[in-house]
Structures are given as structure tokens and as C-alpha cells.
Symmetry: C2
Subunit: 176 residues, 2 copies
């Protein structure tokens, strides 16, 4: 074992503990509190197992889908969570997230940094089947949460069915 | 799409939202609050990606390891979290968890229930390489949390280094 390499891996594991403290604009299904990014990523990863059959299962690399889902929100440690149905400046968001990816994945040993960055970029570009499936789930999960809580959070934030339909009509595609 | 099948899958996804409310005896690395099972499972799954290289990487089915890690604590919805360094009755724990697995995975369509149960059983039996790797990470993560918080939670709960070493000396093996 290379001690410096192991040290870098442990520093990364410690850094991403912060993902557990990034609150989202979604509440738990019992409406007790907001969900955070770590919980969301875990829930999405289980949804991968359940719902893979509705996609072209044999064409997808399952391991890669899991990796995308697990890593997709880590950049929000620096860049923050941007509400999908808000009025954020998405060009600025993309820049912030790229910078965050470089810093956070940069904590890793070089070739792991390269792998993680490549998986995250592929997710963001939303061209491959794996990325389309993962992004579809990323949009589906808040819909399910709002459905189960009778739209609690979306009512509060003024998210109308028009907005939800418009965002998800032509899906999956590259998106802000 | 079979609507009844889809309905079962959605009910399962809603049921496991409860995993986000199962607190563990580990605190976040900033010591701000207890960690929950969903956050722990996500963190473990990222650790899989990072630390796979220290195991016999080519002999392991990565997809299966991810599935084990993602599912391993779902039974705690019914059975509760049992502290690894406590004085629980582990035979009773095993029975409670088996019953929980039957009920919770039983919400799924039949063959998915069978798959999830089989993955969970394989993890619990801790014989396959995948299960040994996943269980080693399950023990490693609280060690890392306690290391980063200067033993905060373990001091509070009277977990001595003797206990930690004894539990992890001969690892991985089938364990309570």
C-alpha cells in the first residue's frame, strides 16, 4: 500500500461527508424535514436497481450508472444545490460546478480523479444512455416526493404542473 | 408497462424513505448530529469505488457490491439499528432482521423480491468476496468517523480500542 495514495483517498472520503449537510428543496415523504444530497443519492441508487427494466437494460453499464448517481451531487459541496424549478442563472451554475469538480475530485490520486471527473462530465453532458437514465431518475425522485406529500413543497415554492411538465416533457436531454 | 408491477416498485421506493430517519451511533465528521442509515449507505458506496483496489478487484462483481451496500441496512426500518459495540442480543437481532427483510422486500414484484433477498442474505452470510468487502467497509466507516472526530462518540459510549481491535482483528468473517 502506498501511504500517500491511501491518505488522499481518506481525505476525499472525509471531504464528501459534507454532502450530508447539503439540504435540497425536497422534503422527506413524512414531511418531517428537508432531504439532503447524500440521502437523495442513496435513494436514487436504489431506484436504479428497481427501474432499470424500463430502459434499454442490456445496453447500459450498470456499474457506471451507480457511479454517476453516487457522484452526481458531490460538486454541490462548493457550488450549492440549485433548485430545478427556480430562476437560477444556469450558465453560472455550470461554471461553479466545473470548478468544484476540479477541486473536490482533485483531492484524489491522479487516475482516480480522472475517472471520477470523466463519470461526472458524462453525467452532465447527458448524451450516453447511462447519463440519460441517471438524469431521468434525478428528475423523477422529487416528483415522487411531491406526489407522496401532496405537493407540499412545490405548493410552497410555486411550482405548477405546467413547470413540471415543461421541464420533463422532452426527457432525457442535456439540461441546465 | 404493467401498472400493478410499477405500483409495487413505487410503494417500495416510498417505504424505504424511512431509512433516512434511522439514526446511527455515529456522528457526522463535523460532529453536528448523528448520521442516518441512508447517508451511511451512500458514503459506503462511494468508499467501494475508492477502496476496491485493496481487495481482489478482478474477482469481485462490482455491481453486486454496490447492491449489497445500498440494501444492507433497509431491514433496520423494522429491526432498528443495533450498535456494533453494544451488548445487544445478536441472535434476536438476526431473527428480527430476517422478518423485516421478508416484509420489506416482499413489497416488490416477486422476482425482484427474490433478487433483493438473495443479495441481502449473501451480505449477511459474509462468505462471498463481495460480502466480505462490503462488511469490511461497514466496519471501517465508523472507525473513520470516530478517528476524524477524535473518538467523540466512542468515548461517550465507552468503546475502548480493545473492543474495536477485538471486533476487527480477524476480519472479514461472518459476524453478529
Amino acid at each position: 500500500m502506498n501511504p500517500q495514495r491511501f491518505h488522499q483517498q481518506i481525505e476525499f472520503l472525509a471531504e464528501i461527508d459534507k454532502v450530508k449537510r447539503i439540504d435540497r428543496n425536497t422534503v422527506l415523504m413524512d414531511a418531517s424535514r428537508k432531504e439532503n444530497d447524500a440521502e437523495h443519492s442513496w435513494h436514487m441508487a436504489v431506484a436504479v436497481m428497481l427501474l432499470l427494466e424500463y430502459f434499454d437494460e442490456k445496453a447500459l453499464n450498470l456499474g457506471k450508472v451507480f457511479k454517476m448517481v453516487l457522484l452526481h451531487d458531490i460538486v454541490e459541496i462548493d457550488a450549492g444545490d440549485v433548485f430545478a424549478y427556480g430562476n437560477a442563472d444556469y450558465s453560472e451554475k455550470a461554471e461553479r460546478e466545473k470548478k468544484a469538480a476540479k477541486r473536490i475530485f482533485g483531492l484524489l490520486p491522479q487516475e482516480q480523479c480522472k475517472e471520477f471527473l470523466s463519470i461526472w462530465n458524462e453525467y452532465e453532458e447527458c448524451v450516453s444512455g447511462e447519463a440519460k437514465f441517471a438524469q431521468a431518475l434525478d428528475s423523477f425522485m422529487p416528483i415522487l416526493h411531491n406526489y407522496r406529500t401532496k405537493g407540499l413543497q412545490w405548493r410552497k415554492l410555486g411550482v405548477t404542473s405546467d413547470k413540471v411538465l415543461a421541464r420533463n416533457r422532452c426527457y432525457p436531454q442535456s439540461r441546465p
